[in-house]
Amino acid sequence: RPSDDNTSSEGKKKVTIMLDWLPNTNHTGLYVAQNKGYFAEEGLEVEIVTPGETSANELVGAGKAPFGISSQEYVTQARAQGVPVVSVAAVLQHNTSGFAAPKEKKIRSPKDFVGKTYGGWGTPIENAFIQTVLELDGVKTKNVEDKVRIVNIGQADFFTAIKRDIDFSWIYYGWTGIEAELRKVSLDVIYLKDLDPVLDFYTPTIITNEEMIRKDPDTIKKFLSAVKKGYEFAIDHPKEAADILIEAVPESDPELVRKSQQWISKQYRADAPSWGVQKEEVWVGFTDWMWKHKLIEKKIDPSKAFTNEYLPQ
């Protein structure tokens, strides 16, 4: 029962988008489009599904949901395993993640990592990041774990982790960094994008699957057109956009949402000509980097992993 066959009672096409995580300010544009009726204007009825602990990639790949939120590193790995997902829009133009540590830890540049403890999610890509940035900073490493103690902190959040054992961690500034500001925890953040342009990849992105592209490009166009309007509204009206998100997700902390929205609204389009576009060199560069670090077992064709074709001009 693929959901893209369904039509609602008002003759609207029903589509699902599967988030990557809990609803947060990365997703504001979607909720705005929903709230303001942009989807309806395009003849779509959109359901936004929240996974607690699962990722959207397999489900979108398998056609269970036509759209999902993912990110470049996942799309690359997924395609390397044969999952036919394609990135169709970048939510943020730049990678807003970085290595963060409380000020008192005095971690201001990658060479300060040496001898410290990193708290991560246990994915191989993190090791590769650390290795890359250490080498960029002139620290020669054969095995990162000789230089930096790497601990998997699993489900624990950043603030808990740094209370005990952990010196620095990898965060998304738009959420955890803002929470730190709210808590008046001063952080040093080393952004990946500042260290090496190749690490300025797209995260998060909106994905669909190859079959959708083949069979129903029209729906992709309509969907992205509404989404774009949503993000553009959020860019222009961060306060109202935040309120829409808070209304949709009353469980989250309103203060955090508002402040995060203020910050992130400026990042959606950033220096790009228009919201959502992805650059070929970013995909090529980061794919090569992943291949070089043996993070993918098969080299993928970056030009097939993304497209700007369905973004409204």
Partner: protein
Amino acid sequence: MTGLQIRQWQKHLRTVGPPVSILLFLLALWEGGVRLTGVEKWLLPAPSDILRTLAADMPLVLRHTGPTLKEAALGFAAGIAAGWLLAMVMELSPWLKRALYPLLVGTQTVPIIAVAPLFILWFGYDLLPKVLIVALVTFFPVVVSTADGLRSADPDMVRLLRSMGANSWQIFRMVRFPHALPAFFSGMKIAATYSVLGAVIAEWLGANVGLGVFLVRAQHSFAADRVFVAILAITFWTWLLFFLIRLLERMAVPWKQSRDKEPSK
């Protein structure tokens, strides 16, 4: 108030007194501990904070409670039915018992979250997968306890029935079944304890409403007080279910009460 009523009240008090007083004691300890050590509220909120949040969030919590309870109840019912049926089938056919037992154990060793994509692929993200997960979590204690209970029926009573020419089904119905009731209830109590939490975890696979959603959202926005409100809600409903089953057990096994009592000195 008559003497009988007074005595009944005293009995209730004796039943409810100990857990309530221990609970209050622990809560006081917690509250005091949090206040004295000054541990941050976002890490471990005090009971008073939690209660305040609960009061404020009540409508929200209630909205999320309904779906979770529905999933838990349906899944639990399905789990008990399946557990009971499997235990029965395994008792009636030793061959099937040997064949099924390892598979049943196998069902419990698959971390659901690890096969979530498959689950959603096969069952969507509506009610069904959640009910299935709750059933999957709850049927197992019921099978194991019940199967053991059925097996341990008094062999002499079984012989009596065999001498009467009873078939396996009659022996099952008249001897093994009533004998296994207490064990069945043991299994049910264990299963009941897992049912609500099972539904919450099932919601982590993908849902827009439910205590699981409430919990994860609270957690990801660093709202520890809300996390504890969710836990409180889960605990409350689990308790209710658990004690309902204890009540049911007493009603279903009346012969056990007849002589258990010590002389009342």
